[in-house]
């Protein structure tokens, strides 16, 4: 698919101080335990108090990130809204399941049901910004955000002026426990800054929201160019290696942002990338955001941020021994529990 895709504005809420301020002076937020939670901003600056009271956590987080992203890009009403979320509003889903049981299916409050629908955040953004155009939500684990990106690229290709593309995910204590029962998290309790020292089955969980304005041509505010996107469903290591070769065939990669998460169950895929790109500096990011369906959106936000500022906040990446000689082409590789694998290529402007 021919075309150029530029990130014209963006915003992220994550377990780090990513929402506002100068990144280079923000310390790394260290959490004890295997469940990272977002540093949440004061939502009142974005959402009126009476609406805020009715909204559950992920709706606030998603809507606020989207609004901040629009502010950052100087666009009020985007040409389309496309998002990805693996789990939507867990809090509302859990609440409605419990209320059905507790109230024996009678006199139920519909609000958690409405907010549990996966497209609720999209609908809210459209409502708030009066965006009556294309609106879509993808809900496919580690391909949720990436399909939203692909859909956005298709829209730009088809002539849409700009697209608000984003992802949002939350973790709850209950869901953390559920996924611990199938071994997704480490059995030993660690803190995120020591993640890569604990090479064992499982990883740490995370959450976050990230939104981007994508447009077909660069502006003075442009962060980076999204120059490539490839999704691979359950590939063999051989297929992964061959696809990576094709994906970067004519590109010089300065740095890899890797989704490596110290989980021995799926590390073999990251080793494929090690072998193919030996000698190229790799920067892991899961110690900052944890593992979740749409962590790829955090990686894209981080990569675009690094390219625009041309700075690596050293306090976030103590593992980095030799910074890359230059920072122009960043490859992002991520996989979600070995099933959905993604390559993204970001280029500086």
């Amino acid at each position: 698919m021919k075309g150029k895709y530029y990130i014209q504005g963006m915003a992220a809420i994550s377990p780090q101080h990513t929402f506002e301020g100068d990144l280079s002076v923000q310390p790394m937020v260290i959490s004890n335990g295997n469940m990272l939670s977002c540093v949440e901003p004061d939502y009142k600056a974005f959402i009126p108090g009476n609406s805020l009271r009715r909204m559950s956590r992920i709706l606030k987080m998603g809507l606020t990130t989207a609004l901040r992203c629009l502010q950052d890009s100087g666009i009020e009403t985007p040409g389309a809204i496309v998002t990805g979320t693996g789990k939507g509003s867990l809090q509302d889903t859990e609440k409605f399941i419990k209320e059905i049981r507790d109230y024996k299916e009678t006199a139920l409050n519909p609000t958690p049901f409405i907010q549990s629908t996966y497209n609720a955040v999209n609908g809210l953004i459209a409502l708030q910004q009066k965006c009556t155009q294309y609106n879509n939500t993808f809900v496919h684990r580690g391909f949720s955000f990436e399909n939203a990106l692909l859909d956005s690229m298709l829209l730009l290709h088809e002539g849409t002026a700009n697209v608000l593309a984003g992802a949002f995910e939350e973790i709850t204590a209950e869901h953390f426990y559920i996924k611990s029962r199938i071994g997704q998290w480490k059995s030993e309790h660690i803190s995120n800054d020591t993640l890569y020292k604990h090479f064992s089955p499982g990883t740490i969980s995370g959450e976050g929201a990230a939104f981007f304005i994508l447009g077909p041509s660069p502006t003075t505010n442009t962060y980076a160019e999204l120059a490539g996107l490839k999704m691979l469903y359950k590939p063999s290591p051989e297929k992964l290696a061959a696809s990576l070769q094709t994906f970067i065939s004519h590109e010089e990669i300065d740095m890899v942002l890797t989704g490596r998460n110290a989980d021995t169950n799926y590390d073999q895929y990251y080793q494929v990338v090690d072998q193919q790109l030996s000698g190229i500096p790799q920067l892991p990011f899961k110690h900052l955001c944890g593992e979740y369906d749409t962590a790829g959106a955090f990686a894209l936000w981080l990569g675009a941020q690094l390219l625009k500022t041309q700075q690596l906040p050293a306090q976030w990446f103590p593992m980095l021994q030799q910074p890359p000689a230059k920072l122009r082409n960043i490859l992002i590789y991520n996989n979600f529990f070995g099933e959905q694998h993604v390559f993204m290529l970001l280029k500086g402007i």
């Binding site: 409605f96 049901f113 088809e158």
Partner: protein, 404 residues
């Protein structure tokens, strides 16, 4: 120029039929699938009618050819049965022969099974068989189970935009083809009845205790249904290369948002109007070319006013025959868009307009009324199929007779 997108196979299972032929038979003989549930554990068992697929989950697993294998939810099994029929009808025996994408739609994933074991799953004191359902909590589970069973390894996605989910799946698939990213993609959606959605819509006071009455003055809400439907979409060049039999063309589509209210459409049907208008414009046809509209027609108070107003705005005094098939199938949420897309294909193939059951009295807000009798031998060339949902998500498709 972008490639045209053709439909070369269809497959479905609903309360009115185990396959496409069974559905057509029930539509023509005016057999509704509405009744009381035998499978759902709810206090509304004998109060709220639903359109349930009559087989147990065990029987469905036999029909889907996966009996005795763990982890298939009812959602997945319904989907698998419909996908298998669509592939067979398109003459596809090996999905690996041509890279084939799979775009699925789901509103609550495997909730049908997880809601029965959820409190065991969250209870550290309990352990057992139910743990195999942990991975079915999300919407991607059914998609991947189906993909892995039939062998899809290429582009895969799941869409969830409430009641317009599978119409958006068809649209996304068509756009992947037009952009040249794939030449063949299977699109549709699957939905099983759950206590969660039944109570959700009931808490919104959106469910009628009687069989639903779309576009009737006395309508009082929807009835839920379950089912699955998939369409095989192929690019024009692939169709030529393989000499595939084309059964219809997906000639237009549009997705718009109401930006009006989280669960209600705008009273004048702005989003519905824009979706139909834009889809028709894309198809290159005009309002005079449309012979049938398969309306969303949920029979909720607000949908039918809004959609009816939109029809009147678009077609003026020349509104073509229209009907809601929800009184046959119930509202199947994520599957509805694909089920009704197949009904639109059937209308073209067999030159039919399906009746809108349970209609007696026109709505005071509208001057139009739905088709109440089966029209046979009716020249249907272009059909608009509507799917509108929560979050203001509207989708309209235009399906056209294949003229070569």
């Amino acid at each position: 120029m972008a490639e045209r997108v053709f439909i070369t196979g269809v497959g479905m299972i609903t309360a009115i039929g185990d396959d496409v032929a069974g559905n057509l038979h029930s539509l023509c003989s005016q057999q509704s699938g509405l009744g009381f549930t035998s499978h759902l554990d709810t206090i509304y068992k004998t109060i709220l009618p639903v359109a349930e697929v009559k087989y147990t989950t065990q029987q469905l697993s036999e029909m889907a050819g996966v009996a005795g294998i763990d982890g298939y939810t009812r959602t997945t099994l319904l989907g698998l049965i419909a996908v298998r029929e669509a592939l067979a009808q398109a003459g596809i025996t090996d999905v690996q022969q041509e890279p084939t994408g799979f775009i699925n739609a789901s509103t609550v994933g495997g909730m049908c099974d997880t809601e029965n074991v959820y409190f065991d799953i969250v209870d550290p004191e309990k352990t057992g068989d139910f743990l195999k359902f942990i991975d079915t909590l999300d919407c991607a589970d059914c998609t991947q189970r189906i993909a892995d069973t039939v062998g899809f390894t290429e582009h895969i996605a799941t869409i969830s935009t409430a009641c317009s989910s599978s119409a958006n799946a068809l649209m996304y698939g068509a756009r992947l083809i037009k952009a040249g990213l794939t030449r063949r993609v299977i699109c549709g959606g699957t939905e099983a009845l759950t206590r969660f959605t039944l109570n959700g819509f009931n808490s919104l006071k959106n469910i009628d205790k009687r069989p639903c009455r779309p576009f009737d003055q006395q309508r009082n809400g929807l009835n839920l249904g379950e089912g699955a439907a998939y369409l095989v979409l192929e690019s024009e060049s692939l169709v030529r290369e393989n000499n595939s039999k084309v059964i219809a063309e997906l000639s237009g589509y549009a997705n718009t948002n109401e930006a009006f209210h989280p669960t209600s459409p705008s009273p004048e049907g702005d989003g519905a109007f824009a979706a139909m208008r834009d889809a028709l414009a894309m198809s290159g046809h005009t309002i005079a070319d449309v012979q049938y509209v398969n309306v969303h027609g949920t029979a909720t108070l607000s949908n039918d006013v809004s959609e009816g107003k939109a029809l009147q705005r678009l077609f003026g005094t020349k509104v073509p025959p229209f009907s809601s098939t929800k009184p046959f199938t119930g509202h199947t949420l994520a599957a509805a868009g694909a089920i009704e897309a197949i009904y639109s294909v059937l209308a073209i193939q067999h030159q039919l307009v399906f009746p809108n059951l349970n209609f007696t009295e026109g709505m005071e807000e509208l001057y139009i009324t739905p088709e109440t009798q089966l029209k046979e031998g009716y020249p249907v060339h272009h059909v608009i199929s509507n799917s509108f949902g929560f979050g203001g998500n509207n989708a309209s498709l235009v399906i056209s007779k294949y003229e070569g």
